[in-house]
């Protein structure tokens, strides 16, 4: 068990800098997810923590030890790779026991440890099979087992679920969460899938172009995104962003986007009349049907349904408000709306986020 700290960590490949001085403090026992689009440097950060990639600048600490020049094998970290990286010529038993063998443990000790972990992961019947004789999900469990037998200080996961089908991914996600609850080992998990990030993380780190955009709990990054990028990246469907202007009408603070005028119940204290803003509204902050009854009167309006996608549990609707503002709404599946219909809708304006159109940063 250990906390991990990154101080001004930089990574350059030749003359190209891909990670620009990242500061990050990962607490002991924490499940931290690094998420971002491909090429954002998240795997590079993970590989630098593992020691597989030399650090071009800054410092990495595992526990209280600076590990910049410590070789991977001496960092006591375990990693699960995207393609599992199981040794194809070894049986599951040997794959799982390999690290213990390398550290000079006795054969009995290795066997006991492997059996114990295989029991937890229900790999008992497969111990004498080779990786090629296992399904994707089983291989994934072996890769996890291989990491678990060592009792490492830190677990590193590099997109471990991206090779699995959707159903298996959901199942493995739960298993990962359970594993973390049982072992309480500091875990750093890299993914490009924001659902994985939201469901697994204690805290999420959103990376873009080698820079941290925001660090926070799943709810924080969802409800209070630090900038437009985070707002659009986290959440599916992504947040609606409208161009608008801040106005004070009859002493009431509001934002106008074309003909639409939305009240601003909180935040944006620094804004003055006429300041341009970007208005962020989560699709699930748009309500329809009986859900709008609980909302204040001035938060309601009417909109025309353009497209509706029915997904069962909920539906995605494209709605045009005041004839010009297109908004994507996520409403309950029971709500039936047909294209062309004009329906009453309500907004949870207390969840609205305003952004500076210049810097794209959130205005608090």
């Amino acid at each position: 068990m250990a906390h991990v700290e990154l101080r001004k960590v930089v990574k350059r490949f030749g003359s190209v800098e891909v990670v620009h001085g990242i500061d990050l403090d990962i607490r002991d026992n924490e499940f931290l997810v690094l998420v971002g689009p491909s090429g954002c440097g998240k795997s590079t950060v993970l590989r630098m923590i593992a020691g597989l990639e030399p650090i071009s600048g800054g410092e990495v600490f595992i526990g209280d030890r600076m590990v910049n020049h410590v070789s991977p094998k001496d960092r006591n970290v375990a990693m699960v790779f995207q393609n599992y990286a199981l040794y194809p010529h070894m049986t599951v038993r040997y794959n799982m026991g390999f690290s213990l063998k390398m550290s000079g443990k006795s054969r009995d000790e290795i066997a006991a440890k492997v059996d114990e972990v295989a029991g937890i992961l229900e790999l008992g019947p497969y111990l004498d099979r080779k990786p090629s004789e296992l399904s994707g999900g089983q291989r994934q469990r072996v890769a996890m087992g291989r990491a678990m037998v060592r009792k490492p200080d830190v677990f590193l996961f590099d997109e471990p679920l991206s090779n699995l089908d959707a159903q298996l991914r959901t199942q493995m996600r739960l298993e990962l969460r359970k594993m973390h609850m049982r072992l309480m080992t500091t875990t750093i998990y890299v993914t490009h899938d924001q659902i994985e990030a939201m469901t697994l993380a204690d805290r999420i780190v959103i990376l873009k172009d080698g820079l941290i955009q925001q660090v926070g709990t799943p709810i924080e990054v969802f409800e209070k995104p630090a900038n437009v990028f985070v707002a659009r990246f986290i959440g599916n469907p992504p947040m609606n962003i409208l161009k608008g202007t801040f106005k004070v009408i009859d002493g009431r603070r509001c934002v106008a986007a074309g003909k639409s005028v939305f009240p601003v119940p909180a935040g944006g204290d620094s804004l003055g009349d006429g300041d341009p803003v970007l208005i962020g509204i989560r699709p699930d902050a748009i309500k329809m049907g009986d859900r709008i009854e609980k909302l204040p009167k001035e938060w309601l309006c009417r909109g025309e349904v353009v497209v509706s996608e029915i997904l069962g549990g909920h539906s995605h609707l494209e709605i045009v408000v005041d004839g010009e503002n297109e908004l994507l709404a996520e409403v309950e599946g029971r709500v039936v709306a047909h294209p062309g219909e004009i329906v009453p809708i309500g907004f949870e304006f207390d969840r609205m986020v305003l952004f500076d159109p210049e810097t794209k940063e959130a205005i608090r």
Binding site: A50, G51, F81, A85, H89, S99, M102
Partner: protein
């Protein structure tokens, strides 16, 4: 259904010419050689338009292995065995070693790779001539120490008459049984960590028992020859072995290097994180993964060593008894001595030895494919 059978007929017709050619020119001629080896075709009338060929059964073979005049062939056979073992160990070991060095991507790796692979492109006659110069008694390798201020060597690389590891051909059966016991014990020791029970019961136990029995009762075994005749590892073949290793380690290097490059970086990373050192990675992960390459290299090299001809011809000439080789003797017996039947018998012996290597390999491949 009819379409399928027509397809099959087409496929068969397409293959037919090559089937016929292979049947005649490969298997037909092997059969013909076997037949020839069981005749007495040779001697003064061998080149007559209608030579006399009488069927004499296995007499030629019996004579090769137990005859008074077969001593030369027997030494050649022993040479071939030592030559094969040393070439395999040397070329596979050295090739693997160079591949590991180059796999770590040193500066100028591509240039070095070409340099190491280059000897492969030379013909054996050329490399034989080069090495003949290098191993000349008063030049090349022998004078190297003189440059460092030491006494030059005086070893006769290609004409030494010394021999080590000698045994009496009379005790051939004992020697073979000892060798078998040794191999069994080694196989057992190799697998003892994986499955100790099986290793002991199946390999080490029987191997040790066989060795003990031969040691106690070996004298009861029939003697392979009526007189004493010692054969061993002729030191004069060292030079030839060195030259062949020089020529072929680049080839095995290329095989292994291609294999190493094919191993995903993730596996290497995983091994590093699992606590394996560089050496540990190669020992436990990379080299075991390349077992198919090792097997191919062993098969190919054992072939080459069995039919080696031109390199020996170029280095020591055809008539040097110390460095004789069955393939060379086969040629001399057949085309210089015109003893066609005896030459054919030598050819078949070589053929059988080659089969010893290849048939188990083919069987295992076939089984694997059926399982897969």
């Amino acid at each position: 259904m009819r379409e399928a059978s027509r397809d099959r007929a087409k496929a068969f017709l397409t293959l037919l010419p090559s089937i016929i050619l292979v049947a005649v020119f490969v298997y037909g001629f092997i059969g013909n050689t076997i037949w020839t080896s069981m005749t007495d075709w040779g001697g003064s009338g061998a080149l007559a338009t209608e030579p006399v060929k009488n069927f004499i059964g296995l007499d030629n073979y019996v004579d090769l292995f137990t005859g008074f005049l077969g001593g030369g062939f027997r030494q050649d056979l022993v040479n071939a065995v030592y030559y094969s073992i040393m070439l395999l160990a040397g070329a596979v070991g050295l090739g693997m070693f160079i591949a590991i060095l180059l796999d770590r991507k040193p500066k100028g790796e591509d240039v070095l790779r070409t340099i190491f692979l280059y000897p492969m492109s030379l013909s054996f006659i050329v490399s034989g001539t080069i090495w003949r110069w290098l191993l000349a008694p008063q030049g090349g390798v022998n004078v190297l120490p003189a440059y460092a201020g030491f006494k030059p060597l005086d070893f006769a690389w290609l004409s030494s008459t010394g021999a080590i590891l000698e045994f009496n051909w009379q005790n051939l059966f004992q020697v073979l049984l000892y060798a078998a016991a040794f191999v069994m014990i080694m196989v057992g020791l190799w697998g003892v960590r994986r499955d100790p029970r099986r290793a002991v019961l199946r390999w080490i136990g029987p191997g040790a028992a066989a060795g003990l029995l031969v040691w106690l009762f070996g004298d009861l075994l029939p003697q392979a020859l009526f007189m004493e005749e010692t054969h061993g590892f002729n030191l004069a073949t060292l030079g030839i072995i060195m030259a062949t290793i020089w020529q072929y380690s680049g080839y095995t290097m290329a095989l292994y290097l291609a294999g190493f490059n094919g191993i995903s970086q993730d596996l290497r990373d995983a091994a590093m994180l699992d606590g394996a050192s560089e050496a540990g990675y190669y020992r436990h992960v990379a080299i075991p993964m390349l077992k198919p390459i090792t097997i191919s290299a062993v098969i190919i090299l054992s072939h080459i060593s069995l039919k080696m001809f031109d390199l020996i011809f170029a280095m020591t000439g055809p008539d040097n008894a110390q460095t004789g080789h069955p393939a060379l003797t086969m040629y001399l017996t057949t085309f210089r001595a015109n003893d066609f039947a005896r030459g054919a018998a030598i050819a078949i012996v070589l053929f059988m030895i080659a089969a010893l290597f290849i048939v188990p390999y083919l069987v295992s491949q076939y089984r694997q494919r059926r399982r897969g």
